[in-house]
């Protein structure tokens, strides 16, 4: 239960950062925060009360492990998040080279 609200809070904080912050790097951080929120949401959807990690070994039977599918999805989403962040940061480097600023309201040759 707590985890649903925590993930909701993380997503909300991320969107807030995107809306209010002017610094491009902070906006990218906001994207990462949203990503973490979504990951937490997926994980908590897969959680089953009182059960353990889905690795079958002596002492862990299939009847007491959690849902492995959302965890697999999270693994994929983490990698996608890393990729987007890396690319976005390198684009920001290029933006900075041209505009000498990271303020998104000053980076406006084109109209929004």
């Amino acid at each position: 239960m707590m985890f649903y609200f925590a993930s909701a809070a993380l997503i909300a904080i991320g969107i807030y950062m995107l809306m209010v912050k002017k610094n491009l790097i902070k906006m990218i951080l906001g994207l990462s925060v949203i990503d973490s929120g979504v990951n937490l949401l997926l994980i908590s959807i897969g959680y089953i009360n009182g059960k353990t990690a889905p690795i079958i070994q002596p002492g862990v039977s299939p009847s007491n492990v959690v849902d492995p599918l959302p965890q697999a999805l999270v693994l994929t989403n983490i990698v996608i998040g890393v990729s987007v962040t890396a690319l976005a940061l390198s684009v920001v480097i290029r933006v900075y080279k041209h505009y000498k600023t990271l303020n998104s309201s000053e980076v406006r040759d084109l109209k929004w």
Binding site: Y4, A12, Y16, P54, I55, P62, D67, L69
Partner: protein, 229 residues
Amino acid sequence: MIKRLVSIIILAVVITSLFMVLSETAPFGDDETVVSHRYIYKGVDETGSANLVTAVVLNYRGFDTLGEVTVLFVAATGVGAALYTRKHPVRKNKVEASLIVKTGSKLLFPMMLLFGAYIFVHGHLTPGGGFQGGAVIATAFVFKYISDTRYSIDHVGFTKMESASGMIFAGLGIMGLLLGGYFLLNILPNGTPGELISAGILPIIYIAIGIKVGAELTGIIDRMMGVEA
């Protein structure tokens, strides 16, 4: 200021109400779903992997993982294209690291490589896998970059490794199609679950992914180190 406050309130209201609905309809800590039931109860027999997440990631939904590897590959290529310079990038930071960092990195570098390799080789048995192991390996190279201002990776060798491991993954998929009629079919025997050599092609894929991810993340860092802002 008021604009900020309003946006906070709207966001908070919308998102909490969404998740109120969610916690009613899909109560937290509820039982597993039909699809996962099969993964949990039959996964070990069907894939030979003791780690069920690995079974799902690499076997049941292996195609997603091929896509995921591709996403990282696209991003690494994109970083390379965005930060392209005519010559090979020359590193700019000239501040020497302290003696502690230098000695420590020499000591830790081989161990970090070994630990990364351990994580991806045991991906089908213990928590972790190719992506995690690759990230650890890339961290080892970051350490190298921090401690030595002249250090630079062997670009040609890294490119070759990266390509070869990517081709192994895609090639295994095509091989499954040719031999068994299904893309990414597990063409090797499952073996005994819980042993190092088991789970068919899963360990091979994870080793390939580990090398690929390690090389790609290191390449991204190398690119970013080389640019002048």
